[in-house]
């Protein structure tokens, strides 16, 4: 396998990774800066982290974001799963193409348009904007992602499993709960995680649909940055990166373990 790390390969790899990760490294690095200025190093300190946890506004925003994300991810997963079941199970019916097309359309819709149209809707209906409107907006767009994730798993689901359950005495509803849901669980969990991340992430739609008293973390960060960046933002970003990284690593370890377990099981079956 000689020649895998040629001069050219090494350089392009390094450049690529630098391009991807240098900004993030700088951001993390300056979160530990003593100075108020984000570009001048003045010694190591964790004081911005302490500041961050003293800042009521930031904590409030974090709490709102978390609540919105939890609620909207859960609702989106439930609705998305139901939509996926219909799309995969119902077979051919009039307007099936239209229906599935309409489920996927918001995936490619510019966020600004989604946000704006939701804002107009809420105004027209005279709904006070705030926590609930953000949540509803997030349910609307992350539901599509959930439906896509669940339905891609659903198409490989063997329907005879559910039939077997009814044959053994389950009503169709019991069969769904006892057999279909547990088997679909991994897809449903990843749909939930995806919806959760999307909601956590969102700035555009939240800005359109939020009102006084309900500011999400991305909105808070954005408005702070406009007034000038403080290392507090760096500290906050570092914490977010840490959480996301830990999530990704945990998820990949879990899948790897499941894979190894499955392979070991198959060896056992052949023995």
């Amino acid at each position: 396998m000689s020649g895998r790390f040629t001069w050219f390969n090494t350089t392009s790899l390094t450049l690529g990774f630098v391009f991807l990760y240098l900004p993030i490294l700088i951001l993390v690095f300056f979160s530990f800066n003593e100075s108020r200025l984000v570009t001048v190093w003045a010694g190591f300190s964790t004081k911005w982290y302490v500041e961050l946890f003293k800042d009521e506004a930031f904590l409030d925003a974090a709490l709102v974001t978390l609540r919105v994300a939890l609620l909207s991810a859960t609702m989106a997963t439930i609705l998305g799963t139901l939509a996926a079941v219909v799309m995969v199970r119902a077979g051919r019916f009039r307007g099936r193409t239209l229906f599935s097309g309409m489920i996927y359309a918001p995936l490619v819709m510019p966020e600004v348009i989604t946000g704006l149209s939701l804002l107009l809707l809420f105004v027209a209906m005279g709904i006070d904007r705030g926590f609930w409107t953000i949540t509803m907006a997030h349910i609307t767009f992350s539901m599509c992602y959930a439906a896509v994730v669940v339905s891609s798993r659903m198409v490989t689901f063997d329907n005879s499993l559910e039939e077997a359950a009814t044959d053994l005495g389950c009503t169709p509803f019991q069969a769904f709960i006892k057999v279909t849901l547990p088997i679909m669980a991994p897809a449903i969990i990843s749909a939930w995680l995806l919806s959760f991340t999307l909601s956590l992430d969102d700035l555009v739609i939240a800005s359109f649909t939020s009102g006084p008293g309900a500011t999400t973390l991305p909105m808070k960060i954005y408005s702070q940055v406009r007034l000038g960046v403080t290392p507090k933002i760096n500290a906050l970003s570092t914490i977010l990166i840490l959480i996301v990284t830990m999530g990704v690593i945990t998820a990949s370890i879990l899948t790897k373990r499941a894979e190894a377990q499955r392979k070991a099981d198959e060896r056992m079956a052949e023995a």
Partner: protein, 381 residues
């Protein structure tokens, strides 16, 4: 009809011959349509208790629909399906004393072997100790006690098949449905499993209905076979009758190999009837096993293994035709000779290879005599 049963030479099991016997399952003028497509076309059929009944036919013949109506996954468009005294046409699957073993086995992947077998019992709210007992019993029946704690994907194909069987038997159904149960197994294992299935069926005294497209499988396991085609039942009979006395060209052709000769019936004599079928070919003598009238067009069917091939003219044979060997299919234990008659027809004759290949009597292009007794074939419509 004078047929000796190969299966149970002593006490013969033939409830269908007894007019006082009540069938367990009765299809009465059942039709099933899917949109404009008729899957089952006005079928009436009785299946008796303790039968091992096979629904046999090519794919798309409606055999699976019949089974799914018995399981409750489909409801008949017309007609009545009864189980015992009850009309079960519209009873949902979870309320029928019928269980099914699925072609894909449909084992629950998130449950152990034990939990799979116990699933139906828990659903019926059996007491815990009885469930435990029953699961143990089923595991011993299919010889999987060691594998109780494993998950389905930790088992081989044959073991999964046995778990599926155990799970479908656990609830002691009045009727067990088997949908192509051995389709996923290799040939050796399939043959072995056929006998296991028969043993289990006999031991438990249950009624089994099997759907298969494999005629050998149906012949091996079944007490009676229904040959289906295009939503209709062509013939229902024991494997022996289906093979030796097919009632139609379709059945004769579908089960095993056959030579079919079309011709015209001559005068009836004491010995039987003669069929003239081609210029310059001797008439075929057929023993008197038919009620067909004289001078009628008819089809004569004869199985290749009932035709004898010889070099010398067999002077005392009822029927003999001369031909030339066109091709030989050697499959080890048997050879099938494709013999071309003087009118161009290819006639199949099968001989078992009692001698080694090097000592074989005939080879390509040889002139041979084909001969058979007048009782060897049947007349069809």
């Amino acid at each position: 009809m004078n047929i000796s049963s190969a299966k149970k030479p002593s006490a013969r099991f033939e409830p269908w011959e007894d007019p006082n016997e009540k069938p367990l399952v009765r299809f009465k003028n059942v039709t099933k349509r899917f949109g404009s497509f008729t899957a089952i076309d006005d079928i009436s059929l009785d299946i008796y208790e303790r039968e091992f009944f096979a629904l046999l036919g090519p794919s798309g013949c409606g055999k699976t629909t019949m089974m799914r109506m018995l399981a409750g996954f489909e409801t008949p468009s017309e007609g009545i399906i009864s189980l015992g005294e009850d009309d079960i046409g519209t009873v949902p699957p979870y309320k029928r004393p019928v269980n099914m073993m699925f072609q894909s086995y449909a084992l629950f992947p998130h449950m152990t072997v034990e939990a799979n077998i116990a699933f139906g019992l828990k659903q019926d709210k059996w007491p815990k100790n009885l469930i435990q007992e029953r699961v143990e019993e089923m595991l011993s029946l299919v010889q999987l006690r060691k594998f109780a704690k494993r998950k389905p994907h930790q088992l081989s194909g044959g073991q999964r098949q046995r778990v599926a069987l155990a799970r479908s038997l656990a609830k002691k159904p009045k009727l067990l449905l088997l949908d192509e149960p051995l389709g996923a197994l290799d040939k050796k294992l399939r043959e072995q499993t056929q006998f296991e299935l028969m043993d289990i069926q006999e031991k438990l005294g249950m009624t089994f209905v099997i759907v298969t497209h494999d005629q050998e499988e149906a012949m091996t396991v079944a007490s009676r076979i229904a040959v289906m085609d295009d939503g209709k039942i062509m013939q229902v009979a024991t494997p022996e009758v289906i093979y030796e006395y097919p009632n139609s060209r379709y059945v004769a052709d579908f089960i095993g190999d056959v030579n079919i000769i079309e011709g015209q019936l001559g005068n009836r004599t004491e010995e039987g009837v003669k069929l003239s079928w081609a210029e310059g070919q001797p008439e075929i003598a057929i023993a008197n096993n038919t009620s067909r009238s004289e001078n009628e067009n008819a089809c004569f069917a004869i199985r290749p293994e009932k035709v004898h091939v010889s070099r010398e003219e067999p002077v005392d044979a009822d029927n003999r035709i001369r031909g030339q060997i066109d091709d030989i299919a050697y499959i080890g234990n048997l050879s099938t000779y494709y013999v071309r008659l003087s009118n161009g027809m290819i006639f199949k004759a099968q001989e078992s290879n009692r001698r080694r290949l090097a000592n074989r009597e005939f080879t390509w292009e040889d002139q041979v005599w084909l001969s058979w007794r007048n009782t060897a074939g049947v007349l069809l419509d």
